[in-house]
Symmetry: C2
Subunit: 437 residues, 2 copies
């Protein structure tokens, strides 16, 4: 990666104080013009740090008035050379991780996990590039300040901004968490359109400026179709690199199976979530195993498996929001960590994990050209392959067909955003998961 | 540790549904009686899991109707034997960690860090025992559900409750995060009294039921004097085991020094926070080092060090709350992790860390019998020793004297809670840190 590509620092950028006033002006503008969408200035609101290979001289005896880059965020403006120091010279090359919705609650958990080394390991320095909105830019500065105060040795750069064309620059991972929540009276079709536009724009931005092999994980709902929109707008990035998060569903399914079987959750394996991250999703108990045995041999209450299990998995978020008063930000961020780790560490022998991925020659006969959650294995190189040795029965197939039909209907709703002309929306029912409204 | 001591499971306890109705009844009661304090039922609201050494038989082929313990929390009711399995038999013995204020935002970050293995290491299974209030018990169930859904292999037991005598049972670590916030018009003296009563009760509970060598970290404010009250009410636990958290202040000080010097924060070492976790605290730049050199040799702007540095450290929380709209839960929880890790891993050669500890024969001439933040080193055995080779100048001593005077005044305010008769409160000014009101 060339120096010029790695850092956006050579562009004209605004200082914190200027940004604050920009942010205020934008708010004023918004109020006066009653929420007309604003054109986004390319250079608005980016802070950046300096890449390690841009160093001119190693830091030895700092001078009285150190050279400060006015467009960096706080302490992350510092120049350094990881290869020059004993403790850090065995470290891998810095990777860029872009996160949207970075001022939200899920990110507030996730960013600190990324920075701690829990996800990419203790020898992998990272740069966090945080995407917010005009409205959240102050909060984003707060997040960056807390990251500073945490003194994470592996966190070597933090930048914040509101323009995906800046923030996604050279991203090797893009974690797309931000999405608009559904407003009162809003139909799922409206939400698909509203968020679809965001993901179309972000797809274009990734296509233009991200690493050519960027891995993209879409968390913002409706995540499968958002991921489809995103990849369709990023034709120069392999479609295989896009994922929609169904890992929280998988984790919840494992927990419910463990609970029912009376075993600890580490005994449950081979759980697939098939299809959409919605109420049509299919947690698969046919292929799942407990202590190496098929679930149906361990849990003899098949009525529970067929009639209660799926609902228990899906209602989890709703129950939680009632008890806790907030959505499940902590466990969602844990499942994002799990999803990333599953791609950067080899999958344990005989097991697999679920991810919403692009259907393109899948062995299950599922419709092509949608984003569908399926069982995957990885060598730990960031890539994955689909698992072939799964079985189906009528019950499982019938439900897979239903979630497939829903994803095809969602795709028709967003035809205008994926280059297929006019949208035609005939979604039969509301399938948002409880707690994710 | 005997089996009978380890698990509170043999006591009479309430089911989730009963607890919910209890909780509702308590709320009704509260409303009718306009916030009179309630007597706490000893057995109200505890969920528990089973200790590994209570297992009768290893889990092999689960039966159709597994034996469920009705008083456990969800999946954590499972019986298992860590020594019976290849993956876990090299693990250490399970440790009990009790956390108060467990439904709050700091805990919402911290609990997931504890459960991930980030704090105590990848071979240390843990049990989390969560203390909430009548008001927060539903939220606490939500937290426990999110912990279930996170499938942390090391997290082997979770229990929740509202009675410290239950929740602190056999605790080897007690992280006391919960405290009442200061209400409108409330003086610091009122807050000292209000929270002091909580910490007096919790000290008594620890004294009665916790491990005889429990390590106690007080985060709830005013944390130094709360820690003093707590240890005075726990005469059977070594006073040396009690800590008041000043690590966030230390981390912030390191970040500000790094920023000013234009170096990355990993270059800053030997930073002491002296005294109280309040605006009288003394971030020590005389003994601190940057890249091994005294700070004053690196940062030549001594006016900044004397006149701006401390304020910058202290205002951090206030600036953050303005930008982010919330207090610094994430970085506080990171600093709690740092504080614990500093006690369970050997301190790097030549460095030290700050902790608010009991003064009892300190080498600095600081008044005895208070909780004062000082420089500590640890062999990683949970214990610490004070650092002797520090230097003082008039500027540093004058400020240490001021924070010492404040802590002595706070102690006089809580005389009634530490067995010293009538309280006499003459606190001169409000010294709560910005953002911690």
């Amino acid at each position: 990666m060339a120096v010029a590509e790695l850092s956006p620092c050579t562009n004209t950028r605004l200082h914190t104080s200027q940004l604050s006033s920009l942010s205020t002006r934008l708010s004023d503008h918004r109020r006066r013009h009653s929420f007309r969408p604003l054109p986004r200035a390319r250079n608005a609101g980016i802070f950046c740090s300096v890449a390690p290979n841009q160093i001119q001289a190693p830091v030895a005896a700092p001078t009285e008035t150190p050279k400060e880059k006015a467009d960096c965020f706080g302490v992350f403006c510092v120049t350094y050379d990881l290869k020059a120091e004993e403790e850090t010279k065995s470290w891998k090359k810095l990777i860029n991780i872009s996160v949207s919705g970075a001022a939200g609650m899920i990110s507030n958990h996730l960013l600190f996990k990324l920075a701690s080394g829990e996800v990419f390991g203790p020898d992998q320095p990272i740069a966090l590039k945080l995407l917010g909105s005009e409205r959240s830019i102050q909060a984003l500065e707060g997040v960056a300040m807390e990251l500073e105060d945490s003194l994470f040795p592996l966190l070597r750069a933090v930048s914040i901004g509101i323009d995906p064309y800046e923030v996604f620059q050279d991203a090797e991972w893009a974690l797309l968490i931000g999405a608009k929540p559904r407003g009162p009276g809003m139909e799922r079709a409206d939400l698909l359109d509203l968020n679809g536009q965001i993901f179309a724009e972000q797809g274009k931005a990734l296509n233009a400026v991200a690493s050519r092999n960027v891995k993209v994980l879409v968390v913002g709902n409706p995540c499968n179709t958002n991921a489809l929109i995103c990849l369709k707008n990023a034709p120069n990035i392999p479609a295989k690199n896009f994922h929609a998060l169904t890992r929280l569903d998988e984790n919840r399914a494992k927990c419910q199976l463990a609970h029912k079987a009376g075993v600890f959750y580490d005994k449950v394996s081979n759980v697939t979530i098939w299809g959409n991250h919605s109420t049509t999703q299919v947690p698969d108990f046919l292929n799942a195993k407990i202590d190496g045995l098929p679930v149906k041999e361990v849990i003899k209450d098949h009525k529970w498996l067929e009639e209660e299990f799926t609902e228990k998995v899906q209602n989890r978020g709703g129950v939680l929001i009632k008890k806790w008063g907030r959505s499940s930000a902590a466990s969602t961020s844990v499942s994002i960590v799990d999803a990333i780790r599953s791609l950067v560490t080899p999958t344990p022998e005989g097991d697999w994990f679920s991810s919403g991925v692009y259907t393109n020659g899948n062995p299950y006969g599922i419709a092509e050209d949608i984003v569908f959650s399926m069982p995957c294995r990885s060598k730990g190189d960031g890539d994955y392959e689909l698992v072939k040795d799964v079985i189906f029965d009528d019950y499982l197939l019938k439900r897979i067909t239903k979630t497939e039909a829903e994803l095809l209907a969602e795709k028709r709703c967003v035809g205008h955003l994926i280059g297929e002309g006019v949208a035609f929306c005939d979604l039969p029912e509301d399938t948002m998961l409880p707690g994710e409204m």
